[in-house]
Subunit: 854 residues, 2 copies
Amino acid sequence: MFPISALSIAIRRRFLSKSISLYKLFSTQSPSIQYPLSHPIYMIWGANTGVGKTLVSAGLAASALSPLSLSSKFIYLKPVQTGFPEDSDSDFVYRKYSEIFHHRRPQFTVFASNHALKASISASQAVLGVDTEEIGKSESGFRDLGWYEERKLQGEGGETVEIASELICKMIYGWKEAVSPHLAAERERAVVDDSDLLGMVKQSLGIGCEDGHNVGVFSVLETAGGVASPGPSGSLQCDLYRPFRLPAILVGDGRLGGISSTISAYESLKLRGYDVVAVVCEDHGLVNEVPLLSYLRNRVPVLVLPPIPQDMSDKLMEWFDEAQCAFSSLKEIMISDFIERTERLRDMPKKARDIIWWPFTQHKLVPEETVTVIDSRCGEHFAVHKVLNHDFIMQQFDACASWWTQGPDHTLQIELARDMGYAAARFGHVMFPENIHEPALECAELLLGGVGKGWASRVFFSDNGSTSIEIALKMAFRKFLFDNGILLGLPKADTTERCIDLKVLALRGSYHGDTLGAMEAQAPSSYTGYLQQPWYTGRGLFLDPPTVFMHNGVWKLSLPERMHPEKVNVEDTSFGLRDELFNKSRDGSSLAGCYSLYILKELSLHSGLRGFSHIGALIIEPVIQGSGGMLMVDPLFQRVLVKECQSRKIPVIFDEVFTGFWRLGVESAAELLCCQPDIACFAKLMTGGIVPLAATLATGPVFDAFVGDSKLQALLHGHSYTAHAMGCTAAAKSIKWFKDTKTNFNLIFEGRLLGELWDMDLVTQISFHHTVHRVVALGTLCALELRAEGHNAGYASLYARSLLQNLREDGIYTRPLGNVIYLMCGPCTSPQTCRQLLEILYKRLEEFGQANQV
Amino acid sequence: MFPISALSIAIRRRFLSKSISLYKLFSTQSPSIQYPLSHPIYMIWGANTGVGKTLVSAGLAASALSPLSLSSKFIYLKPVQTGFPEDSDSDFVYRKYSEIFHHRRPQFTVFASNHALKASISASQAVLGVDTEEIGKSESGFRDLGWYEERKLQGEGGETVEIASELICKMIYGWKEAVSPHLAAERERAVVDDSDLLGMVKQSLGIGCEDGHNVGVFSVLETAGGVASPGPSGSLQCDLYRPFRLPAILVGDGRLGGISSTISAYESLKLRGYDVVAVVCEDHGLVNEVPLLSYLRNRVPVLVLPPIPQDMSDKLMEWFDEAQCAFSSLKEIMISDFIERTERLRDMPKKARDIIWWPFTQHKLVPEETVTVIDSRCGEHFAVHKVLNHDFIMQQFDACASWWTQGPDHTLQIELARDMGYAAARFGHVMFPENIHEPALECAELLLGGVGKGWASRVFFSDNGSTSIEIALKMAFRKFLFDNGILLGLPKADTTERCIDLKVLALRGSYHGDTLGAMEAQAPSSYTGYLQQPWYTGRGLFLDPPTVFMHNGVWKLSLPERMHPEKVNVEDTSFGLRDELFNKSRDGSSLAGCYSLYILKELSLHSGLRGFSHIGALIIEPVIQGSGGMLMVDPLFQRVLVKECQSRKIPVIFDEVFTGFWRLGVESAAELLCCQPDIACFAKLMTGGIVPLAATLATGPVFDAFVGDSKLQALLHGHSYTAHAMGCTAAAKSIKWFKDTKTNFNLIFEGRLLGELWDMDLVTQISFHHTVHRVVALGTLCALELRAEGHNAGYASLYARSLLQNLREDGIYTRPLGNVIYLMCGPCTSPQTCRQLLEILYKRLEEFGQANQV
């Protein structure tokens, strides 16, 4: 804004090295986002271009570095500047502050500096007055400009230099053309990746914390153009800076039409999860602040600035004087909001411990300091509040995928957020039975064309995995009764007589949900004791399954005792590659015959023992039993089991609540088993992990068993929010996103498979580790069981605690199943990220082994 | 935009009557929104003011009424015009089209007209050149201007007048000052209510359907300013027009900063549930369309218009010629999208019947034509697609409150939508155990300070009513075992031995959810037969409760047989006013003693019969048993029951899934009972009805029964989406909204009570109706049981079908519980609306009585 050529040459100095020696608050090895919460840091956004963002920044600088409340440092950051060097907002703030200082003649001293770090070649030329060849083209299209200028503003009766305040102005990247950054970057061939830009911003945000003495530091980061103006890579700035989620000041538009553009800009910020702390608006005589305040329900303050003089080359001193009061209020609002936020974050662990009742948590084992305050999520990462020397926000990879629900990357999350707003605004929730709405229909179509392809023809919606299982069991039992002519013997449809005792066939170690009906399909376990489940009886025939895992680099098959493993060929129990396990040719092996025999024997034993009870359904988690401890069941065994049941007209239920939607590298884990169920349950990842929704899919014949003349023959089960619009919208979006090669770069094999996400060499290396009993890596899951005995083993074990604590310090949030720990990513997570996770895990396993002297 | 004074006086005519004799497509008695889907109707929105909306409208008119594809009618509506008469967009379109016509010299004839209906007094003066006194001030601040102008545009070799096309331009309201409508309305003292404005728009949208011959009709409705510019009442236009949810064309901004303002405007439209069909942008040489297309993922077309000449008084013919191709594409996009939308809506019932499995629905009883296609929701209303002579969208009041979940009015829905976008963007969903995030903490605090006030100290989140009940039962049983020292007898915490048989005490007719555990707490009913619930045994002692209802204007108490009603004083069983039933003084009545005796007798009978089983919990729906048929239980009885249980250390569970959050006129129905539970369950209305979430609240001592050294003593129950951020955010917002007198105008008695929503005279009148067996009106509920016998009575009855069908035609969507039908509104619904519902219901009951000869 202010012509840099007007600068006094006498005080211009260049420190090319300065740009490299920036203080690094956090390790740069980790690409993760961190920033201090030791002092206020705000982003300044504009409702449009040319609404006066930089004037607000300069006004805030003047207010912060003023006699009334002197800050020790005011830091102004302009990460992206176009029109440089003619336009330089950083220079503008630097100069205007100096002018205000001289104008107001305060009684203190300020060291003011302005720093321009990097500029495109053409912008550099314009600054340095030399041509490209002379400078030498940098590879990235940028030059480390390292342009630095400083001046000492000596007040009247100013204090000594040692305790002077500082104004630090800094431009990070500059381009020459005064157009949108993405255009300038493209035209000047100087594009900067979002991650590089964020890395630079992260470094700059560390300024002010160098010496731990950051009382009175105040930082603002000013964006370019409007909230959704593209940054240099083309990402919209509101998306680009989202990982920091810094609190926002929105400079509104006071002109005609400005109410609308201010509200829309506000909504774009909210739609990215930003907190807008205040709106500032220039007065154009249209009292735009009144409808703005009304829209904001008086909860966000709206401050009015006096009309800005047309001629910006004017010194503006009168304007700044007039606006002084507004800026002072703004600064106070920003400081008090910052203090409130930090205090709230600090108080949350105690408050949570006092009033929350966490699921699956022994509260006595959760001291206040171990409670994690999650401030936000961005893609696969949490932003977590921490306090060490000072408060800060750090990123942690959500490696538990928040109970296996998560899939979205940053982009999908933002799109889902917009879709959630849309679905809520269009539908809220609407009654479902006998009705239809677009999201439900689209979601059902996608389910039948995807995970249900080739077998399912009906979709029944519910709320979570557990309810979808209860529904599946009801479907299966009815189908069984129907097929076996047992219904004919009933006096009437709504009889209450329990004619026969129906049981499920299920596998030990499986888990199908927490409600009683789902629990009854589970073999006795830590979860089913009388203390937990006074009503649990275990209404099943529970078979011990053969399991597989990697150990010392080899995939091994572990057979249950009752199968007499000693009689099985050794070559059938050991595999060099995981994918051999999924080979259909194993159907002809002698092992397949053994499995068949074993199953038949168990079934006949059961019917011999209890002649009055019938197996009315088979239920399995295909391939991996999740809550049971990430146990991989031999897929051959499950295939044989399914076939034996289907040949006996026992309906087969696949519980894909955990395994569905690419969790195991394919959209449906049924593909890995190469067989199809009669009924299947989906939840968790189905909505991308954003909101609860479940679906039970069924074949036509299953549905037909409920069709009749009376309502009492219908499936009388349903939940209030059945097929709620937000859930269905999220599911439709996520299902499409994960299987689209334009959005999911992990897809291979014509989009039918995820490429290997976990580095198999590293996985193998881990399987050799002496602390590790077994490893399973498949799709988005990499699990390992720590070698443990006694109370260190099993679900209630706390053995892994120190390991997990260390991983969290490294920025990996994971949660164990006793002595089983796992890393879980999303279907779109890059293999590079997965590799980093494994590397860190390996390093921490080494330490863990030493500490535990295993 | 075009000075009206330049109009040829020769062809100006005034038809003051014209504004009244507008064709009324739908009955004006109903205030509901309806509009035809017989032809395309679009809204034209602007990313900002001055981006060329009216040029787009004019271009579309020229494209629609062109030789290439001649429409029969092009209708241009401008509901809100400021700066009138100097600016008149309607006149601009009218004149520009005429000019284009003469310029292009087509071979057909067009009747063009321009009509200005109403203007503020000052604007009227300016038009008519007379002063206020002469005209006579209208009460509303408006004059029926009825300014009408028409011309016949005779093409070369034009067709006969009879089959000429028409251009109909219409301004509805005009104000003189060229400022935002809300300002102009205020300053000119001519404010129009949103409902009046919508009524006028609704009338105008009917144009083109007068004769059923609407092939080739094309309508656009142009807004004023930007998408979020205030309308005349101050409501933002995107909110104001939302009830129609017309598909949108967004005129973007091609200038610097225009990418941002276009995206933000788009997001504001999406955040109101609008579908944006195309974006049109003026070319300013900045290729803004590229990032816009990238943002829109190529799914919404972006069309580019040539640079608009600075001088708008120019004839612009060259510009229109240059833009002809873009307008033609735009028109094609709009037509094909319209056709697609209509076809999709028409196909939905069949598709739904083919692949959806509806809950609680006998599919055989749902023919295609009875499937309701819900296109959207706006506050308490559905927008439903219907086909009679032609397709149309009609509004229906959601009188089943979508399975009792709904609470939001239009304003709350929009705010919730923004909050949902924010919560999704900020958090998505994050892992809950041992963690905390702001929405969960705020929600928990609000629950404990509201429905849990005075007794609860812990909040356990889950997904729906059913899961919250299963959790409550587990809590209660543990507490019972703990209190009764039974745990001491257990060998270890995780024993699987079932030492004692725990049962619940519950009331017949109650319903606590569909999962097995919740079902077990229900007495045998239509829902629990073997066919439905093969695993159901009914693990309870189920008491017959005394019920109350209004009949023939009197509240009557009906006692169960086992209480020997013949022995009870008659004066204790009849009440003039409903609220006498809630009177605490009844505690001293002889009836209270009878209740006590009855309960003790049943308890002792039970323990005598089954010495091995213990009553481990009491569970009741306070005051109203919902699914059981909207049965009102005598609150005195429930209070006595609670006391008897608490004195025996039997934990008490209130199932407030249905009754909570103002459903019965108080925040918690426990207030009506004047006693407190140990555990209570909430869901449904808790989130305002937008997304599933449930909470189980408990006292400190209940929580303490789970605290110990082992994880196995903790409550091992949890669902993946526990305390998901969107649910908690919606709940926090709704809980506050419903109890805030600034947002809920129904609150009385210091905000502790809803005023009476149902007109008690009308309710009484209905209770006298010969078709009606009983009525219950309380809070947001008004239920009645139709007098019925045999198969006409009970849950499977189809008796009410014709009545319900008629109500839907009247715009009331309700769903029966067999022969029990009910109207349910939200906590903020106005008593006027409720009165209208009752009036319609009464009228339909009369018909029903005649038809059924009751």
